[in-house]
Amino acid sequence: MKALSPQERAAPPTNVSAPGPLYASRVKVYPKRVAGTWRRVKWVILTVCLTVYYGGAWLRWDRGPGAPDQALLIDMSAGRAYFFNIEIWPQEVYYITGLLVLAAVGLFFVTSLFGRVWCGYVCPQTVWTDLFMLVERWIQGDRSARIRLDKAPWNARKIALKTATHAAWLLIAAATGGAWVLYFDDAPTVARQFFAGESTTGVYFFVGLFTTTTYLLAGWAREQVCTYMCPWPRFQAAMLDEHSAAVTYRAWRGEVRGPIRKNVEPAPGTGDCIDCKACVYVCPTGIDIRDGLQMSCIGCGLCIDACNEIMGKVDRAPNLIAWTSIAYEAERAQGRPARYRFVRPRTILYAALLTLVAAVMVVALALRTTVEVNVLRDRMPQFVLLADGAVRNGYTVKILNKARQPRSFRIQATGLADLVMSPAEGEASDGVVTVLAKPDSIETVALFVKVRRTVLDGANKTVTFRVLDTEGRVVARRDTVFVGPAR
């Protein structure tokens, strides 16, 4: 994107009749090295994110014999997900839904406060691109060296440097793809099988897939992902308002921009921007923040660091580019005192939603039991008439024993006069059916309940199943329907 000269800016819009080209090639971005506060923040976050990602699967967590000892594990074949001391069954994916809702609302909240900090600091696309750029800089040198290298004709040195870069990228990409599959099975076993060539085709496929995507997205596509592929930049505008902080060029302070020359007094009306383009050179998406808030800006704050360094050198006040809001700057431009408004209806709403969802999740987790009971009424047949005129209904009771020990449960049925409950196999003793539930599995019991027809009186009734543990505590109570013939 071409920056306009002040004269061009001032010129009235002119008619341009010739349509431009339909397609344009990517203009390669050569971000320059930069040092400063935000760059340091980015390095710290990058280190944390990568450590968690590459190392997470190797964390161990003792769950007792027979259970996997991996802290973070999604076991597809057994249908279990493990997160430290939390174990989730397939029917509990709502926890994952909850986490996703939390993540989404959290993103809205942070965006309404500070703009695209997610994009600039935590998004995997940003983190891996940053890492790839670091490698690139180590091998090929900084911005000008890389530009020169690309322009230079192919020779031994260029081939060597380029090969080294891509080899290093591929290595990182392979490590990234490899780390992914570790979360889906016992990590040491997966790693050993992988290198012994004993893994399934699926494992090699996924490692290959994530290696390729990492290499392409972080090595080649980079800012193209943020500008053209990712949906998030497109709708995050809905979370921003004039009070949201974003990386902003303080035009009221910087304009009219102009270079400084030694021993020459700047013309009156000249702003603080010396038009050195340092902010443009460090930008990972290759844009000019001085054009204003724009879609391609990922909010990484590197231009702030770059400009502050310059401002320091030319002895002007820092933060010509800063995290600030449109409303704040409008006031400042008028020379009025301004303050930031973090508490706004929008942020209150997001914070409230965040608290609510988090509270629901915590309560749900705290109340999570190690036994779950489902009662299904047989529908085929709805009911059976017996020889003595009684009516019988069938029920399937499913007991989910989420504990790691076998447990014994007793089932009782109540709610109808003189009902008789019996298991489809075996006998009830004293109206109680005893079930031995295997550890970490679902126990299914078929039960029959029979009552005299006169008890029903032609209407459907309610029958209640109670499941008790060995200490006699009621662990579940389920009401269900008892169906009989119309009178």
Binding site: P19, S25, M380, P381, V384, G389
Partner: protein, 285 residues
């Protein structure tokens, strides 16, 4: 809408000349790689059409068919089940029931076979219908033990098989064996046996007729005889209806349902699985 293309002041780019509610659109060229991705997709589609059947009548180079896929999947499943099925075929039915794994397998296999072959008459879950016995209740025409059920499934009832269960109820009215008045009396007696409202005088007369004509099969107290497939008349279960009219119809025209023999049509293991499934519907003795 279509205004002149003009240059945007901030970016210096040309607009498309389109304007919506005061918002004008920049004429930003699409990235070329989008175009190349589009071409690559077209190429992919072409290769796909060459390799796989995409156009009716033209098989792809790979010779892929869904039908064969299915056949292979079914074969793989059948092969995987073979060890279980073989054990069920080899073991006596009582032994199959004692092994929890085999039992669960037999129940599931039995249900599939039942729904394919039996549910047309007996309904899903063995719920039964008029003339087709309910298999989940505790009343059996020919017996509800495993052996009884297996025999019934194997040879059928009044079927073409030599070993079919056979019995014939006389057509008391149609063949003039009883007078209409006698039939009325017997009907009242049968109503009395099942403790339904009845005419006492007629029922008393009918008892004598019943003892003479019916008790040989249905027993004096109406409890029936499973050797002969003679239903109990003193309970609350009626295959053809327990109303006065329905019972009269049964006495007049006689009843005699037919069930096909499944030996020869279903294999040994399937018959055993069916037996176990039916026995477990709720009425097994």
């Amino acid at each position: 809408m279509a205004a002149d293309r003009e240059r945007d002041i901030v970016t210096g780019k040309s607009t498309t000349g389109h304007e919506w509610d005061g918002i004008r659109e920049l004429d930003t060229p699409l990235p070329s790689w989008w175009l190349y991705t589009f071409y690559a997709s077209i190429l992919f589609a072409v290769i796909w059409c060459v390799l796989y059947p995409a156009i009716p009548g033209i098989d792809g180079l790979l010779g892929h068919t869904n039908r064969r896929d299915l056949a292979e999947t079914v074969k793989a499943a059948t092969d995987a089940q073979a060890p279980m099925v073989d054990r069920i075929r080899a073991l006596p039915i009582e032994e199959v029931r004692k092994d929890p794994k085999l039992l669960a397998f037999a129940r599931t296999g039995g249900r599939a076979a039942f729904n394919n072959n039996c549910a047309a008459c007996h309904q899903v879950g063995g719920a039964g219908a008029r003339g087709f016995p309910n298999l989940a209740d505790d009343d059996w025409l020919w017996g509800g033990t495993l052996a009884d059920i297996e025999q019934t499934i194997r040879y059928g009832i009044r079927s073409e098989h030599d070993k079919a269960r056979m019995s014939l109820m006389p057509r008391f009215g149609a063949d003039g064996m009883l007078t209409p008045a006698q039939i009325d009396d017997v009907v009242e007696h049968v109503l009395a046996l099942s403790r339904q409202p009845h005419d006492q005088a007629k029922a008393a007369r009918g008892a004598a007729v019943f003892a003479e004509q019916c008790a040989a099969c249905h027993q004096k107290d109406g409890s029936g005889n499973r050797e002969l497939g003679a239903p109990a008349l003193n309970d609350q279960i009626w295959l053809y209806g327990g109303t006065r009219g329905a019972i009269r119809d049964s006495v007049f025209n006689a009843r005699g349902g037919v069930m096909p023999n499944w030996e020869g049509r279903l294999d040994e293991a399937t018959i055993k699985m069916l037996t176990i499934y039916v026995h477990g519907l709720g009425g097994g003795k």
